[in-house]
Amino acid sequence: MKTLIKNGHVIDPGNSTNRICDILIQDGRILEIGDSLELINGDLINAEGKYVLPGMVDAHCHLRDPGYEYKEDIESGTKSAALGGFTSIACMPNTNPPIDSESTVNYVLGKACQEGYVNVYPIGAITKGLKGEELAEIGELKFAGAVGISDDGNPVSNSGLMKKALQYADMFDITVISHSEDKDLAEDGVMNEGFQSTIMGLKGIPSVAESTAIARDILLAEYTGTPIHIAHVSTKESVQIIREAKQRGVKVTAETCPHYFSITESACEGFNTNAKVNPPLRADKDVKAVIEGLKDGTIDIIATDHAPHHIDEKNIEFQLAANGMVGFETAFSLAVTYLLEPGHLTMIDIAEKMSLNPSAILGLNKGKLEPGKNADITIVDKDEEFIFNASSVKSKGKNSPFDGFKLKGRIYYTIVSGKVIVREKLFNR
């Protein structure tokens, strides 16, 4: 079975490709990339006027399976990911039970194999039960297939334990992903501490709850010599600290999420629980700093932090509402609307930050278009505008603060190992 992607504008930063050409796929792998390729018998995809990217990789999402299947499961989550153009996703371990043992890793991988539409890579826990008390069996997690470790949702508050985690993880060459948050500073805050929290009478989370924790984790990484990846960077000071660390040669990488470069704390107005997320949406100066960080390479990747929740966990008091928002199906459009359109990033930068870099940070053999590689490809139209309707997403969670937003840039095809999962914007399975 052959598939030919014809006349698309191929962007492959890993191979410095940026031109109109064709890609021929055979038996799930890329056979050839070149000009005027011919297809006698097979599936012809006309990509004229569209961009052809290495399949997008999400380094940070929540699939809620096992344990919270009422929010999301691997089938619904990977369907949503495919519609968002992602061919590979790394899911966080805050499931029930948490992904802190070989058996849970095997469960996720097995279920993804049976029901998943895209490649799923579990991220294991740093500590047993995500409790922040004792190290999880990190070696076992790695050999079972975990691509990173994180206690995401919770920080590892004990600095001594975090130091040991970094030292120990380095032995297995597994990426340590830090949810950096000082709980003593965050207390029981529910949104950014600033003007908006003042006028709404809600308890604030100060920006320093994030930046001081990032500073700690960077210093620990520098001391131990272990690389560290900083999850969901949201504040101006955080960007500055990471920038300085990179300048002096610390092995640190960083991610941000679409909601941190597109909207501010004012999205919480009217007690909109769909804008409740941790770290919280910040102020205008932070959004500007995050964009600067993306531009100058301080922030390496854009991850979704896709966090689906049930309506009953959102249509309640703001203080009680769950943190997080769905993100797969808006990530690319938000990047186009808020980064590409205003000229902050190019399509090459977007391909780097949403495919090449996340793949490299997690050590996946993805993010590039080369003969012999699995044919994971995303085809997009950067100019198409649409009104985003949150109720239309295929995730079980409809909790998006972007409902009704006019966005630009759409996913036309998502191809995973040669299988066309999304065809002409529609799910194809």
Partner: protein, 312 residues
Amino acid sequence: MKLKSKHILGLRDMPVEDINYILDTAKTMKMVLKSPNKKTPHLQGKSIVTLFYENSTRTRVSFELAAKYMSASSANVSSSGSSVAKGETLIDTAVTINMMGADIVILRHPMAGSSHLLSKNINASVINAGDGMNEHPTQALLDMFTIIEKKGCVKGLKVAIIGDILHSRVARSNIWGLTRLGAEVNVAGPATLLPKELCKTGVKVFSTIHEAILDVDVIIALRIQTERQKSGLFPTIREYARFFSLDEKRLKFASNDVMIMHPGPVNRGIELSSSVIDTNQSFIDRQVENGVAIRMALLYLLTRREKNENTN
């Protein structure tokens, strides 16, 4: 004329015409309240339900009496002794009450935005009787009514709000109401009890009580809650009183005919010295009295609004 607002959620978003209309109507209600026979038929056939998730004496009783003076049917639900204690959600409880025919639901709740949430989920009008640290609009309305009774108007007055601004819904509602009606508002309190970027609301923020009350026409002292001390926001109640208590000596910094107000209940000797509470410049009792008038005005205007809607 009728009220624009269907719900009374807060003074931040309430149209100024509505604020003035409520304050005007309360004047008439006060006359009713002062008459020997405190009964009017205006709310006959209307049902008012108070839904209180926090303790309250003045707010709850004044709403209840306001409803009864105007011949409404009223019922009270409190978090203990109801399905709330069985874990029913706020929306489910409120929908249940709504289905029993409530025209107005009055909600007090420990979390900001709870009244907004109700207003989106039930048909009845919702009055916010205090939502977490966010707003307590009926308190601010009765405060402004009390000020107008004495001073004639709010515009051009200087008002100081002293104490725990961070946790105070009374402070927030007063800041919105007073600044929107043209008063100058000063605030002072321990730095740990002042919310971030407060000055952007249009108030002047001071670190000493002397500066904040200098030449002001009105001082509103806020209740200090002892549990705030335990969470480390200030060292001791004693030290709080030393720097922020209003006593006769400090009172001299304010204008001669300054009004002293407090939403109650007062911690004597902490927010205000007993001697200050018992002067004729203290309007604390008047505030309580006017609270009934304001709440009568609100119930009347909200139900009248519905009638107009139906006939339109």
